[in-house]
């Protein structure tokens, strides 16, 4: 298990709190040939795929539960969540452990690329064709060098109703 994140979080917070211009860091990952980014402060760690215990009465994108150092956390298959075709796990498949509204969940991604530092002006609003789909979790597009990253609001990854359920449960 490789822990990538966390060491920069405090510095990052300081900076963004200190002045309005402050840059932010994204963890970028790949999913079905597209690149996505999640704010680094949300990411707890990145782990390898392991055995997942399936859970009944849940949507298909909830792959099940894993044991993360004696804590049971749910795993969301991001491909299924986004309505993409399911793919068998490959060598690069990883679970990103993120903190969402006080809960810890894992999301399955095709590969984790790197940590990027970007400034707010690099973020553009998502094109209406994407935003119009009611995909509230897509918060923006990031132009980084020649790449285009889709910024995700991880708090909304579990759909509104799903989050309410999580909170209500």
């Amino acid at each position: 298990m490789s822990t990538v994140a966390q060491e920069n979080t405090t510095i990052d917070r300081h900076r963004s709190a200190g002045d309005g211009i402050g840059s932010m860091q994204l963890v970028s990952f790949r999913l079905a040939q597209e690149e996505y980014g999640i704010e680094i402060t949300k990411v707890q760690e990145i782990i390898l795929m392991g055995e997942i215990t399936r859970v009944p009465q849940t949507p298909d994108y909830i792959k099940g539960l894993i044991n993360l150092r004696n804590t049971v956390i749910p795993i969301v298959d991001l491909r299924l969540r986004f309505g993409l075709a399911q793919e068998p796990a490959g060598d690069e498949t990883r679970i990103m452990v993120v903190n969402v509204q006080g809960k810890t969940i894992g999301i399955i991604v095709d590969a984790v690329s790197e940590v990027l530092r970007i400034s707010p002006e690099q973020i553009a609003a998502p094109p209406p064709t994407v935003a119009g789909l009611g995909r509230e979790y897509l918060t923006g597009l990031v132009k980084f060098e020649k790449r285009l990253l889709i910024m995700l609001d991880i708090d909304k990854i579990l759909s509104e109703s799903e989050v309410t359920q999580v909170v209500a449960a």
């Binding site: 215990t53 009465q57 049971v72």
Partner: protein
């Protein structure tokens, strides 16, 4: 003024706040309990008339209010302070017989207590809703005014508190004009033994342990502050002041008057310093440190149960000597000695019975009873000693007939500066018994005089005889007064011998070896949670070791391999030797030679194999060793788990006692008469469980009191007693704890429930008709069900019962309901002993491993496919002559994720029969894997709860497995059978 705003005035407020919360909660609980006793009594007398209540109860409540008042004052919680002050006034008036205790009074005080609880709870979770207590304060004032007892702080305790104004930083030298006592009197320079006659009472071991614990912390904090260099003088003084007050309070509350007295002295001095704004002089610091050390030694002796003579008296002198020069200065030097010597003389003269008094007593003494006489001497500078004397008079009157009192009893309260008073009482009690009764705060000592009992000293004997007898012993200096008491007590009749030795050993020896306290330690519950978690992990790992051991044992070849190899070797040798003759006849020498060589080689190889195989013996021995080690680990892990569990166990009593109040409030509101009977309050439950049980139990008790118990006239008409009974009991049953709430009310009306359930679309008419009575009752647990025709304030919002059930199920418990029309209703809650560890049966179903709580497993049977028959569209099997419906997990659960493995469709099936509350289902499993203690992990912590699944657990191999919830499975399977009710499943699936 917001209380929370003022809490940051002190550095160590956080610690103090914790202590304050703890203490005030306990005191409030106690107060509430006593009030309920009074309330009970009030209910038995006609409305408006006052009730008789014993002084001890009132005094205890007074003390509780006073303690909270003192502590809140210290910490600057103005509202709490004001309100408790008012409550205190009520009890003060009550114990002085000025205020008759009526139901109204009890009611107002109960409400005040509620308000206090709110105020106290607000400290933990500051909210914007300011709790106002003006109305309640006004009501109390009204109450007191009505009897003319509302007045400025007058009692001794009030005065004492005024010496300690609330710690508000903005009033640095605020004396609040309260210290009217001449300094000379408070700081007597003359040699006075402050500890003469101050005797500790016997303290209950339980409280002693708490005291010891707290005292140690207080001493540490005091020493630390005293030794700290620099810092603002005033802050140091204030911190010390608070700590010494705390020591004083806790010591006095359990009757340890000697350390209390010493702490009081320290407190007085510090108080004085705070008023003058002076810092502590080095000599004073030394003196206080010595006192702290002495108290520490004293407490240590208490802990060991072997108290020795303390040197508090001497220390007190040193303490005063260290302080007086600084505070009195030159001016006092002139005045003080004269005045104090005068008062000393005064005290000396009044410490024994005068000739005139003795003569009077002799004249008045009854002939037929033994009498005791003596003089009570009060602490110097005690304010309102007259009131104290009056109180003592009452106490003496409780013990026997007081036939002599000087000054006269009815004048006592009017004398403000009484130093001593003489009394004689006709009683069968011994001197030592009475001494303990009247040695209350403020009393310096009691000097006894020889008994002119009817037989020993006839009333008509010349008066001069009595003084002649008593004078020799009464001329002893005050310091020896207690020794004299001891001597008298020792010569008491043998029947009193048991009590006598205690006092004969002199002051400062209250604890016998028998009362040696249990040492306690306060621990943050989060740490215990963590420990519990670790113990759980240990259990998981233990299981893992056991598995590894089993695996190894199977992997190592058995001993027979050695035998086989040995046989081969023997056979080879055979061939080599016998064969030689026959072979040599047929073959050429060259061939024989090569054959021999090969044989030798094979022989050698076999030897090597044999040697290598012998190493397996070592491995086998190691595995046996491992088995032992695992076994040992098993025992240790179980021990740790059990010990951790034990540390978390608390008696259920306090939780139950809360319901007395609930029942009282309800009966007030609905004119019913209900008695709450509590049984098994010593039964212990996990602390977290107790915390979680409060709400569900309140719902049940409310339901019983509001809906269950009928109005008195209805009850009488039905041939029952007018007063209904609700019983709350707790007991162990097997591996569970059962809590039962039972009422003898009207019971549930199954027809009405049926009707209601159909109306509310909870079941279809057809199903409702098919349900048994017991099953009908279970419908009340359904969301949205309430049988109350009229929704009252107390219960019946129609949301109670399903929440009750889910709360209990969250604790892995079950709840059942039985009822009989006209006879009452019983709720039975069954809870596991612990929240965290569950003995369970592991099974494999469709490739996944599931845990089934062992409690619910009735039996495991193997059945042939033809044994499963369809009855009414449902699979059933006959198990030992009873019909059990058979379900597959895949039929109950909606899986949207593919299974990792497909179950092999075999002909024979294993059926695990699960049972709960009289219902049974047979669950088809691929393979039972065995029993294991598993650790329950919450799924809601990071995800949410899932119907049919009680939680998750981590297996020995690190994988997560789901714990099935037998109750939910039973529900799901019965719903499935009901086509009209597919909606329920559909909602469950819609997540």
């Amino acid at each position: 003024m917001t209380q929370n705003g003022s809490t940051d005035q002190l550095e160590d407020t956080d610690d103090l706040l914790g202590d304050f919360l703890d203490e005030s909660r306990q005191l409030l609980a106690r107060l509430n309990e006593n009030l309920l006793v009074l309330d009970q009594a009030a209910a038995e007398v006609p409305a408006g008339s006052s009730i008789e209540c014993d002084t001890d109860t009132i005094n205890e409540m007074f003390r509780a209010a006073h303690s909270i008042k003192g502590l809140s004052g210290m910490l600057g919680f103005v509202q709490i302070n004001q309100l408790t002050h008012k409550i205190e006034n009520v009890f003060d008036a009550a114990r002085k017989q000025e205020l008759p205790i009526t139901a109204d009074v009890v009611d107002v005080v109960l409400q005040s207590c509620d308000r206090l609880e709110e105020l106290v709870e607000q400290l933990t979770a500051p909210s914007n809703d300011e709790v106002s207590c003006d109305d309640i304060v006004a009501r109390i004032a009204e109450l007191l005014q009505s009897v003319g007892a509302d007045r400025p702080p007058t009692s001794q305790e009030d005065a004492e508190l005024n010496l300690l104004p609330p710690v508000t930083g903005d009033l640095p030298n605020d004396a609040e004009g309260s210290v009217q006592v001449p300094v000379t009197e408070r700081w007597p320079t003359a040699k006075v033994d402050h500890f003469a006659g101050v005797v500790d009472e016997q303290s209950p071991a339980k409280y002693l342990a708490i005291f010891i614990d707290e005292a140690d912390m207080s001493f540490d904090s005091m020493t630390e502050v005293l030794l700290s260099e620099g810092g603002v003088a005033r802050e140091i003084t204030e911190t010390l002041l608070i700590t010494s007050h705390r020591i004083k309070g806790s010591a006095a509350s359990i009757g340890l008057h000697r350390p209390a007295k010493l702490a009081h002295l320290i407190e007085d001095i510090l108080q004085d310093l705070r008023e003058t704004g002076d810092g502590l002089s080095p000599t004073l610091v030394d003196a206080i440190l010595r006192c702290t050390d002495a108290m520490r030694v004293y407490v240590k002796q208490l802990r060991d149960g072997v108290p020795q003579e303390d040197n508090f008296g001497q220390l007190a002198d040193e303490l005063l000597a260290a302080h007086v020069p600084a505070s009195l200065g030159a001016a006092a030097a002139g005045d003080a000695p004269a005045e104090t010597s005068a008062s000393a003389a005064d005290s000396a003269s009044s410490e024994r019975l005068t000739d005139r008094q003795l003569a009077d007593i002799a004249r008045l003494a009854p002939q037929d009873a033994s009498a005791l006489m003596g003089v009570v001497v009060f602490d110097e500078g005690l304010m309102l000693s007259g009131l104290k004397a009056r109180l003592l008079y009452e106490k003496l009157a409780n013990e026997g007939r007081v036939f002599y009192c000087d000054p006269a009893a009815d004048q006592l309260d009017e004398i403000d500066d009484l130093r001593s008073f003489a009394f004689a009482v006709a009683t069968s009690a011994s001197e030592s018994e009475i001494t303990t009764k009247i040695m209350i705060a403020g009393v310096a000592r009691v000097t006894w005089s020889s008994t002119p009992s009817g037989a020993a000293a006839p009333t008509n004997a010349p008066p001069s005889n009595a003084p002649a007898k008593s004078i020799p012993s009464m001329n002893v200096p005050p310091t020896e007064a207690t020794q004299k008491t001891a001597a008298v007590a020792a010569s008491a009749p043998p029947s009193l011998g048991a009590a006598a030795p205690t006092s004969a050993e002199g002051p400062g020896q209250p604890v016998k070896d028998a009362a040696r306290p249990v040492e306690t330690l306060r621990v943050d519950i989060d740490r215990l949670d963590q420990l519990m978690n670790l113990a759980g992990q240990l259990v998981i790992n233990k299981a893992r070791f056991a598995r590894i051991g089993d695996g190894l044992r199977l992997a190592v070849p058995g001993k027979q391999v050695d035998l086989v190899v040995e046989n081969i070797r023997a056979a080879l040798s055979q061939i080599a030797s016998d064969g030689e003759s026959s072979i040599s006849a047929a073959r050429s020498g060259e061939e024989i030679q090569s054959l021999r060589t090969q044989l030798r080689r094979v022989h050698a190889d076999v030897d090597v194999i044999q040697r290598e195989l012998q190493k397996f013996n070592l491995l086998r021995a190691s595995i046996v060793d491992l088995g032992d080690a695992v076994h040992q680990l098993d025992r240790v892990a179980d021990g740790i788990q059990k010990s951790v569990m034990d540390t978390r166990m608390v008696p259920v009593g306090p939780l139950f006692t809360r319901f007395k109040r609930v029942v009282r409030d309800i009966t007030r509101a609905n004119q019913k008469q209900v008695e709450l009977v509590i049984r098994g309050e010593k039964t212990e439950l996990d602390k977290r469980m107790i915390d979680e049980l409060g709400d569900p139990l309140i719902h049940m008790v409310r339901n019983s009191a509001d809906h269950g118990i009928e109005l008195p006239d209805v009850r009488v008409a039905a041939g029952k007693s007018a007063q209904g009974t609700i019983s709350l009991e707790a007991f162990h049953r097997g591996n569970s704890i059962v809590i039962r709430v039972r009422d003898d009310g009207k019971g549930l009306d199954s027809e009405r429930i049926r009707r209601k359930a159909v109306e509310k679309n909870i079941v279809s008419q057809a199903d409702a008709d098919r349900l048994s009575e017991h099953q009908v009752f279970q419908l009340i647990w359904e969301p949205g069900f309430s049988t109350a025709e009229k929704v009252t304030e107390i219960s019946g919002r129609g949301m109670g019962m399903d929440i009750v059930r889910s709360k209990i199920e969250q604790l892995n418990g079950t709840v059942d309901l039985t009822s009989r029309m006209g006879e009452g209703t019983t709720f039975t809650i069954k809870l596991p002993l612990t929240l965290a560890i569950l003995p369970s049966l592991l099974v494999r179903i469709d490739g996944d491993v599931f845990a089934l709580p062992l409690d619910a497993v009735v039996e495991i049977v193997t059945i042939e496919p033809e044994d499963i028959r369809a009855v009414h569209g449902r699979s059933t099997a006959s198990v030992r002559d009873r019909v059990v419906s058979v379900v597959r997990l895949s039929e109950l659960f909606d899986w949207r994720q593919g299974s990792s493995q497909n179950s092999a469709e075999s002909g024979r099936a294993t059926l695990v029969v699960l049972g709960s509350e009289g219902r049974e289902i047979g669950l088809i499993v691929d393979l039972p894997l065995g029993e294991e203690d598993i650790v329950i992990k919450s799924m809601a912590e990071n995800y949410r709860n899932v119907p049919g699944v009680a939680g998750a657990s981590i297996l020995g191999d690190g994988r997560v497995s789901l714990i099935l919830d037998p109750n939910a499975l039973l529900d799901m399977s019965s719903r499935r059978s009901n086509p009209n009710n597919h909606g329920a499943m559909a909602t469950a699936e819609a997540y």
